[in-house]
């Protein structure tokens, strides 16, 4: 592999030996300078989508201004340069998750796209009536519905690991649910609505010991931690670039070569073929077999720039910074609002703070926070089964990125005090 690519230790520690000046780094994100409703923007909706540093935009602009052409097609210089940059992005993604080969990295539209790809290939080819797909009670709809569709077509059955009151998984039930009938464990690594980091160190080896392949939904893990697919012996992993300070509409499916070679193609079209005859078509090698049609070239280029940006900081420092902000937010909320109830209090968690303020409806709280310039997510977070389990209509969710500040937490507290005054008589 390319010598300039960071190894797993460098991804953790970061290439810059200097301590990170977080306030200065915030200037790399132009949108954070804007005002909303007459207040400075406090963007605390990072779990929905992260903001982008100017380096991402500059990389995409350079593509369009200097070397844009279709990739994997032309003999001409622009296509060659474009293809090189596109494949460099693949190498950076492989390095980011410590994939053994860059051909095991499939570019997708995002997490949802990646899971659907697997539900239609693995799901339809490998599931038989009575087979079980094991999910958890804290899945995003994107890791529920594709499997329900696959189960409906194949007669397979969905089993669900229950969630405990503190927002962690019931591991005793997990042990019992895992059986020779289980054909796939498909689970969320980090919960988007609770912030819980699930114990993959325990669950993945347990599944593997029974020969059960594992798909990890890393949509909320990839922005916050160094990922090593080899250390965990993960079969499949999916995530979206837009949550990792990269472009929208772009994502990653990692799959072990042994699986990806075996699975049938998902979509047919250009780029994914070897030879097309009306009698029979043969398919291209990995990763192209799963990348029909012209790909999201600028997405790949932009995401490569995002990864280079993160490689300088280092994922351990990203995690530590976010952890500090998330825990400070929880402490301040707990002190200021006796009526506030956290949903999800796992000890292993990322900086996602989900809560309810007394009887106030999340929509009302979110609306008043917006008036004060504070952007949070409200609602069911595309996790209706989880909200039903906690018997709440939804939550207010503040989610942090490394570019957030302590003064934004104070702005949240002040805005929430106003919401409390207006909404709770």
């Amino acid at each position: 592999m390319n010598a300039e690519l960071p190894d797993i230790l460098s991804w953790r520690k970061g290439s810059s030996a200097q301590p990170v000046d977080w306030e200065k780094l915030r200037n790399d994100f132009p949108i954070l300078q804007r005002q909303v409703n007459g207040h400075p923007l406090a963007y605390l909706d990072n779990a929905a989508s992260a903001q982008k540093p100017w380096q991402v935009k500059e990389a995409e602009q350079a593509l369009y201004d200097q070397y844009y052409a279709n990739v994997h097609r032309g003999v001409h210089t622009l296509s060659q340069e474009g293809t090189n940059a596109f494949e460099e992005a693949r190498a950076w993604v492989a390095s980011f998750i410590n994939a053994p080969e860059k051909e095991e990295v499939i570019f997708t539209k995002g997490t949802t796209d990646g899971i659907n790809l697997l539900a239609y290939t693995f799901g339809l080819d490998y599931l038989k009536p009575g087979d079980e797909i094991l999910l958890t009670g804290m899945e995003h709809h994107a890791n529920i519905v594709p499997w329900q569709l696959a189960a409906r077509r194949t007669g397979a059955v969905i089993k669900v690991v229950p969630v405990l009151d503190n927002g962690t998984l019931d591991l005793e039930s997990f042990d019992k649910l895992l059986s020779e009938k289980t054909k796939l464990l498909s689970m969320v690594w980090v919960s988007n609505s609770l912030g819980t980091i699930n114990p993959v160190d325990y669950m993945v080896p347990k599944a593997k010991s029974l020969g059960v392949p594992v798909l990890l939904d890393a949509a909320q893990a990839a922005p916050h931690m160094a990922i090593d697919v080899q250390a965990l012996d993960i079969d499949f992993l999916v995530f979206s670039a837009h949550k990792v300070i990269g472009p929208t509409g772009f994502g990653v499916l990692y799959g072990k070569r042994s699986w990806l070679d075996m699975l049938p193609p998902f979509m047919g079209g250009g780029d994914m073929i070897d030879q097309v005859r009306f009698e029979e078509t043969t398919f291209n090698a990995l990763p192209h077999k799963f990348e029909a049609g012209t790909p999201h070239i600028s997405g790949a280029i932009g995401f490569c720039a995002a990864l280079k940006y993160l490689a300088q900081i280092g994922m351990d420092r990203v995690a530590a910074r976010e952890q500090e902000l998330g825990e400070l937010c929880r402490t301040k909320l707990r002190e200021a609002f006796p009526k506030l109830r956290f949903i999800g209090e796992a000890t292993e968690r990322v900086a996602v703070v989900s809560f309810l303020l007394g009887e106030a409806h999340p929509y009302d709280v979110g609306f008043i926070l917006d008036k004060e310039g504070v952007a949070v997510r409200t609602g069911h977070h595309c996790c209706q089964p989880l909200m039903d389990r906690f018997r709440v209509p939804g939550t207010v969710r503040a989610s942090f990125a490394f570019y957030n500040t302590k003064s934004e937490i104070d702005q949240l507290i002040a805005a929430l005090a106003k919401a409390q005054k207006m909404l709770l008589p």
């Binding site: 106030a360 409806h361 999340p362 929509y363 009302d364 008036k371 209509p393 106003k418």
Partner: protein, 141 residues
């Protein structure tokens, strides 16, 4: 005395809201209106009457009385409920013809139009649609 028209009620609401200069006062008034909306009978809060929004839920019940449509409605979010109260106040006890023709411009005038944007997904857009649809069905009978 006959029931005031939608137009007249709209003007009344605009007049009421003109007293408030800050958004806080305006929303406190709206929330108060939501609190005063007659409580809908639990029997009416069924799934068939539920207008689903990703953010908040709205329940709507409609029936005809003397050629006029009577609406009863509720929401689980109080700001949404305040706007529900405004809509019920303006459209309930009106003729189907007037309901179908109404433009609800007063919501815009008092600066609450953002709540009727489809992106809010609070159930209000579908609620207005269903109110007009019910009135429209009465006309066709």
């Amino acid at each position: 005395m006959s029931h005031p028209s939608i137009q007249e009620i709209g003007e009344e609401i605009v007049e009421e809201f003109s007293w408030f200069s800050s958004w806080e006062e305006k929303y406190e008034h709206l929330i108060e209106m939501g609190r005063q909306l007659p409580i809908i009978d639990a029997a009416y809060k069924t799934n068939e009457r539920l207008v689903r929004g990703c953010q908040s839920k709205v329940w709507l019940h409609a029936e005809s009385e003397d050629h006029r449509v009577v609406f009863r409605a509720d929401s689980d979010a109080i700001i949404t409920k305040g706007i529900v109260a405004l809509l019920v106040r303006a459209l309930s006890h009106q003729t189907p013809e007037d309901i179908v023709r109404s433009d609800l411009g007063f919501i815009d005038t008092i600066g609450l139009k953002a709540h009727l944007s489809p992106t809010r997904s609070n159930g209000l857009v579908s609620m207005i649609h269903q109110m007009k649809q019910y009135a429209g069905n009465q006309l066709n009978h």
